[in-house]
């Protein structure tokens, strides 16, 4: 028995900020202090508050230390672990109140969250199956195998209202029902862990923090549709997730929770990993399956749907990580419990990767129907540096930008589509007044141009032409007719592309055009970028009244565009200026203006 447990986040975010070295230092210091028998160090998955990483939580009192450095470790061990005195300078300031230190669950970041898919993340050691079992792990699988028929499971999922968390929002129970009804000698269960949306890391956090939940849910799916083999298609860019999945699969096999005759029920099920190789289109279901088959990951037309003819031409179901992560809890707590959360047509919770210009960057799980304002202002802690909220982007390259006008719309599948965006897998990037919306649209188009697989013409050529039009706008060479061309082309791509990548590629452009049309017009008509981002439309000048002639700007100008005598006002030669903005950051007198 240990008297204290020290949890250190070992997710990608905290590992990147040095948590691995902290764990090593901690183990060394604990050994040195002779506490090795009393204090246990646990490497957990992501705790959510990535902005404050590396994160350390000391139990039983649940003291939450943030931004811990290796140098802090000796003090934590000698003060807190040995003498029981909290190192207050490292405690997350939100947990400090007049009445002393409050629970983490009372802080703004965690208060409105409700963790189902993330229930074990940051709580257990993901590399130890016993800890998962200790939190009711594999009980749902046992219940399904011993007490439920496949029809019972499907009914439970249908009643729960669970919809696919990967983007489309298709009812999960319905998907399973379709695959169940098709007869075949072999069927497959696939897990889509090819989280390609830039800025989204929900699935990675589940895999890193709680890999067994995915294995358990996949085995349940195998039992329901009659499959004995599962595949997890995971991004190779997630080395920690891949490693923990490998460990989890091996442990589950050792415990007889994967393999032959699970729980003596006669049901066989095993899982293999397949690594992606950096192709965004492989997140599309037909492309993903083609990739598992070892081919170029190009999509193909549907029907036939995977439930009829999927992987290796056999009936297959494909769900994403977060969808699977909800299933064991639904089985254990019942459909009604799950359906009691959320909105009329979107039940349960959704995990969002909150990023961009927001204070508390991290991973949040909230009931469906929470408003954007609550997510950004309360959970996210607002926008840093006193800037104003301008937009939030959801759905990645297939989604759109939500403007401040829709700050109070309850977020669910249908509302997001109605306001011109989509749920997507859950990336939520906050933008402030310094972000140019035309530039953001261009950013996503560059992404889709890169990632278009090239198989169908509307997507391959359409995205390129659309990007050219946007470039024209940011260079100040466009006319108002170009906006009509954009809309026409976008509509054509939507109607005629083969897969979702092309059908939705224009969404970032259309939604910004709808919500921020005046910004487009400013670029086209006034030849001006209101956010001050688009270089071609900017000009830097020196205010002669403020300039002291210190020559600092001239010395730092990489283009040699600034000239002037010492102690005399300087001038910028516009024909030489490369608009890098270095002069502005160097000037101590605020004499340089950007227009």
């Amino acid at each position: 028995m240990y008297r204290s447990h020290v949890l250190v986040c070992g997710g990608t975010g905290c590992t990147s900020s040095g948590s691995e070295q902290i764990i090593k230092a901690l183990e060394k210091e604990i050994e040195k202090a002779g506490l090795a028998e009393e204090v246990c160090v646990v490497r957990t998955g992501c705790h959510g508050l990535c902005a404050l990483g590396p994160i350390m939580i000391v139990y039983p009192e649940a003291t939450f230390y943030s931004m811990v450095k290796v140098e802090d470790v000796p003090e934590i061990v000698s003060e807190h672990l040995l003498k029981g005195r909290v190192v207050s300078r490292l405690v997350y300031d939100e947990t400090i109140t007049e009445k002393g230190i409050q629970s983490l669950n009372e802080t703004d970041f965690y208060k409105k969250q409700h963790r189902i898919a993330l229930r074990n993340c940051g709580v257990i050691n993901p590399e130890d199956i016993e800890e998962y079992i200790g939190r009711d792990g594999y009980q749902a699988l046992a219940k399904v195998l011993k007490e439920m028929t496949p029809d019972d499971v499907v009914k439970c999922l249908l009643d729960s209202g669970l919809r696919g968390r990967g983007g489309g929002g298709f009812p999960t129970g319905r998907k399973w029902q379709l695959a169940m009804g098709n007869q075949a000698d072999q069927k497959y269960v696939c897990c889509n862990a090819d989280e390609g949306d830039p800025g989204a890391f929900m699935d990675r956090s589940v895999l890193e923090g709680d890999p067994h939940v995915v294995l358990e849910a996949m085995a349940i799916a195998g039992y329901v549709i009659g499959a004995s083999q599962g595949y997890i298609y995971v991004r190779a860019e997630y080395p920690i997730a891949v490693e923990r999945l490998k460990i989890a699969i091996n442990q589950a096999r050792e415990y007889g929770l994967l393999g032959k005759d699970i729980f003596g029920s006669g049901f066989d099920f095993d899982i293999d990993l397949r690594l992606g190789a950096g192709a965004f289109v492989c997140g599309e279901e037909t492309a993903l399956m083609t990739s598992i088959e070892g081919k170029r990951g190009e999509p193909h037309p549907r029907p036939p749907y995977p439930a009829v003819k999927g992987l290796f031409e056999k009936p297959t179901i494909l769900n994403n990580v977060e969808t699977f992560a909800n299933i064991p809890q639904i089985i254990l707590n019942g459909a009604e419990w799950f359906a009691s959360m959320g909105t009329e047509k979107s039940k349960g919770t959704k995990v969002f990767a909150l990023g961009g210009k927001v204070k508390n960057v991290g991973l949040v799980e909230i009931p469906m129907g929470t408003t954007l304002r609550e997510i950004v202002e309360e959970i996210g802690g607002g926008i840093p540096n006193g800037k104003k909220f301008k937009a939030a982007q959801t759905g990645g390259p297939s989604g759109g930008c939500i403007s401040a006008e829709n700050y109070d719309v309850p977020i669910d599948y249908d509302n997001l589509i109605a306001i011109g965006s989509m749920m997507g897998s859950g990336g939520l990037i906050v933008m402030d007044e310094d972000t140019c919306m035309v530039d953001i649209a261009k950013f996503f188009l560059e992404f889709t141009v890169d990632e278009s697989c090239g198989k169908c013409t509307p997507c391959r050529i359409g995205t390129t032409r659309l990007l050219e039009l946007l470039n024209k706008i940011t260079e100040g060479k466009a006319t108002m007719e170009d906006l009509d061309k954009i809309e026409e082309l976008a509509e054509y791509m939507k109607q005629n592309s083969l897969c979702a990548l092309g059908q939705t590629a224009a969404n970032p452009v259309l939604s910004t055009l709808k919500n921020f049309r005046e910004e487009y017009i400013a670029h086209i008509v006034d030849k001006r970028c209101p956010a001050g981002v688009c270089k071609s439309l900017l000009s830097y000048s020196i205010d002669p009244d403020k300039c002291k002639g210190c020559t600092l700007c001239a010395k730092n100008c990489p283009a040699g565009a600034i000239s002037g005598e010492r102690k005399e006002p300087h001038v910028i030669d516009q024909s030489k200026c490369v608009k890098c903005g270095v002069c502005m950051t160097k000037c101590k007198f605020g004499a340089i203006e950007k227009k």
């Binding site: 990608t12 989204a200 598992i292 210009k357 990336g427």
Partner: protein, 164 residues
Amino acid sequence: MSLAKKTVPFQGTKEQEERLLEMIRAHKDQKGALMPVLQQAQDIYGYLPIEVQKIISDEMQVPMEKIYGVATFYSQFALQPKGKYRISVCLGTACYVKGSGKIYEKIQEMLNIQGGECTMDGKFSLEACRCVGACGLAPVMMINDEVYGRLTPDDVQTILDKYE
């Protein structure tokens, strides 16, 4: 003349080839084995030169055009060797809105190479990547497996100096 190194002669060793052949044998009867084979071949050689693709083609009885097709489809497969220090700057959305584009430009300027290229001395190669998942530290770049976060363009020189 561009400073970038365009092609490098193949310098595979006997030992690497043995590891390759053994690995191919282990995967031979597996369904859809081509991707895992290419991934592990790249682990062995660091990239996938045409010579290695040829061996895989012969051993697995898969036509060369199919192998080339797969190797060029996925961005992770490299047909050219990378630098001793591989710099990848994250241009994912969260990093982009926090200014990673400026970091990327700065490195191109400093090393005098474009994204996807390698310096003449084979020391640094540069690429843009999409989200390493460390969005809390945005903007982020990686040099080999080391992650550098909360960057400003001014930090870049000091970091690169460490690798000189």
